[in-house]
Symmetry: C2
Subunit: 222 residues, 2 copies
């Protein structure tokens, strides 16, 4: 496990490390210790050193890690040095909100394609992205080299949309519906279910478990 095997927990922490490091780089801090980084991200310093070592990232004993080097390496690991064109299926409020959200393009996920079956929506434009019929999905995904598909349709359509995305060759899917989707093993799906997030919050509220769960400092989603 010392090299090559990267746990899901490690992957989940990488974006947090990166955010913290980018702030340090902006503040012209050239070097950072695992202790310092750990404190900012809210984990143990041994965990930071282990996470970085598992990516093959090394520091200097007595000194720490070079911030610029860390930022570069983690960015490479997360694929942030390249663009991942995104297709959003469903041009309802959520689909339009995602398309309008400039933060995604800034972080390398430009939304290039918006699909919907509603004839009233087809042909309209959201933040410069034209809405196309879902029937054109396969052709457009290939034409635009779409790397990530987002399911922002009603829950009933989730599986059907996932199937269409997979058939078109998309291997990364973000599912915003309440309905889990089944996909072949080479495809990665993550699900963001708003009602589930709220239900988990209300569970803690109900139980008065906030402080006993070590929350307070935010409980991360991943």
């Amino acid at each position: 496990m010392s090299s090559g095997a990267i746990s899901a927990a490690t992957v989940g922490r990488l974006p947090a490390y990166l955010r913290s490091l980018v702030e340090l780089a902006a503040a012209d801090t050239s070097t950072v210790s695992s202790d310092h980084l750990a404190e900012r991200v809210g984990v143990n310093s041994a965990t930071v050193r282990r996470d970085l070592a598992s990516l093959g990232i090394t520091g200097t004993r007595g000194v720490g890690y070079d911030v610029k080097y860390l930022v570069f390496e983690i960015s490479v690991e997360l694929g942030l040095n390249q663009e991942w064109p995104v297709a959003v299926v469903g041009a309802g409020n959520l689909g339009r909100a995602l398309t309008n959200y400039t933060g995604l393009a800034e972080r390398g996920f430009p939304i290039r394609l918006l699909l919907d079956n509603d004839p009233a929506k087809v042909g309209t434009t959201v933040s410069g992205v034209e809405v196309h019929p879902v029937g054109h999905l396969a052709a457009l995904v290939r034409e635009l080299s779409v790397a990530v598909g987002v399911i922002a349709t009603p829950a009933e359509a989730a599986q059907e949309v996932a199937d269409a995305l997979v058939a078109a060759g998309v291997t990364s899917i973000l599912n915003f519906t309440a309905h889990p989707v089944a996909v072949p093993g080479h495809v990665v799906v993550r699900r963001v279910d708003l009602a589930t997030e709220l239900q988990i919050l209300s569970f803690y509220q109900q139980r008065g478990l906030a402080s006993s769960t070590g929350v307070g400092v935010p409980l991360e989603t991943s």
Copy 2:
């Protein structure tokens, strides 16, 4: 730990159990085994029995669990037998998408309050919810008995909004910005960061790790 202590992992699985059970109830299945439920949710049957036992839910040996009883008990645990009025801070695309999303009200989280500092937005209405100035937050939260606050503002405002929500007595917060917020120990925060979700997807894509991570069957967010 056998009783009273409920792990975060267990809490995260409850909504999935409930979804599956509701389908069974609709199909008039009166009883379910831990084995059957485990298969539907994608966990081990011992985990199901342990999760349920930790909530004080018992089944019948040789028979299984009564579906209606399970649905009721888990609903109570998740607080679904009551309403949790929600306040959304930020009436941008995301805030409006959330307010328009009927799935939340259906699952007990009606959005009762929408706040924004933009004078052009104040006074407008989204799905019947009027936009109020953020300065009125404390008074309106009390008046409407808001239980959950949602931060849907630009990242820079996240901490300020969290502070205002906490000061107004809100103890459950869902944060949609990329910025983690610090809150007192009695407050529960969950964060949903879209760019982070996409970055994790692209990491797996980059590495070709999909099948080796046991994804395929969806990797849940929680």
